[in-house]
Symmetry: C3
Subunit: 186 residues, 3 copies
């Protein structure tokens, strides 16, 4: 009798242990193992702002050039960037890292882009990088891209990053809010 | 006696449960947790087809230009695309999403490319995105790229996408069949 | 009594089994499930070396061109490459695969790049591909990028690749050592 009760307890423990070890694959609602919110600031070179610019058009379609974003919703413009990352929405706050990579406007009818980039940290708070890729339909209030890997403090990270346009000025400055939710933390 | 038999059963259950929870890491043959087949259609801008074009050359080598794919197997041509995705191989079928991103021809001796792109869905059937990256040796009948992440319905997806050139017309239109096999589904 | 001892043994086995199945998520020190070291060789087209060149500038900023790397630490130069991979550091060793993809110099103040590329193997030793993405702060002795996926022999691989500049000659040739550590092997 007692043995049976122990077996039952053990069995329940077993079930519990399994499900708690991998909750995210079982439950419908996933909780991030890490969450980080940052802002980054993109100033596109327009021929006049070489001192402040953090990004430049380096690819353009046949009908475009490299100092003015192309018409048809910038379709075909490929931009390289090295943008400061800040903890709040102030461009002049001390940067805690750099957002580096490319984006390309990829649709004629509306503004939408494809992104491949990294957050690079080398401060007391964070050392390492987070790598991202995904579609960015700019006109949506929020849009999700994938966290496809990480190094250093973010070793082997995977997750989702929710982008939000926090501000923009003409076609020169825009600021993105990034809400990073990691679901695989090592 | 009875206790022992229960223990044995429990032990077998335990083994079974473990192996069935993570079959793919144990067995040599992996079964996808989700499989999807689509077609997408790429019409490259050539200076005359701006109405129909879904893609444009935006980067080219020193010896190339942006309205004709470069010689030497298009080495160095970087193309941005926003291609309709369909369920069958008919360009005129109702698109159920868009394939958006870049490819670049990366070899002088034969046709081969490198791809970074996303499938973007916003229909009743699928909402969300699937992100891809990998080498595309075009001359092979099939070639595999990686599913590096997903969002929405494809939250945290990983897997393999097998590409197949289903048709092409000159150097303007080509149609790819994509067989997506996800091995990580959340 | 005996039953209890068996239960205890079973319980210990259970704990052991769980922890040994996923050591990397529990322990602080992670051991790769596979490790590979390669070299690859990049010869950038400079207008004179078209025979030997394995890479070409295909995107450049407004102030640059495609036969000379731009000033300001090449900021904005986007390079497409198809580089031989060798087992040792000799450019003339038999290549065992190709490194294919893009890199882009993304900072004005120092040399740093963003990489998206694949290793493509089709030999008796390795068949398949490994896909990479990440930031490459060139001036650091070593820098880590992410292994974001793989196909064939490297089916579903994830991990870290540590890059090291092994040699360079002017702004035409450079050789990278890549130490690939996979932490997810299927």
């Amino acid at each position: 009798m007692e043995a049976k009760r122990v077996i039952l307890a053990l069995f329940l423990l077993f079930l519990l242990s399994k499900s708690s070890a991998f909750p995210s694959r079982k439950s419908r609602v996933h909780k991030p193992c890490k969450r980080l919110v940052f802002y980054f600031h993109d100033i596109i070179y327009n021929g006049k702002n070489s001192k402040n610019a953090t990004a430049a058009i380096v690819g353009a379609p046949a009908w475009g050039n490299k100092t003015i974003l192309a018409n048809q919703n910038h379709f075909g413009d490929l931009v390289v960037f090295d943008d400061p990352i800040t903890l709040d929405n102030d461009l002049h706050s001390a940067p805690i890292g750099r957002a580096q990579g490319i984006y390309v406007y990829d649709k004629k009818e509306i503004f939408t882009a494809w992104l491949g980039f990294s957050f690079v940290f080398n401060s007391t708070e964070h050392k390492g990088s987070i790598n991202f890729a995904g579609a960015d339909p700019l006109m949506n209030k929020t849009r999700d891209v994938s966290v496809i890997g990480g190094t250093g403090d973010f070793f082997m990270a995977r997750g989702i990053a929710t982008l939000m346009t926090d501000a923009f000025e003409g076609e020169v400055y825009f600021r993105l809010r990034v809400d990073i939710q990691l679901y695989e933390c090592w």
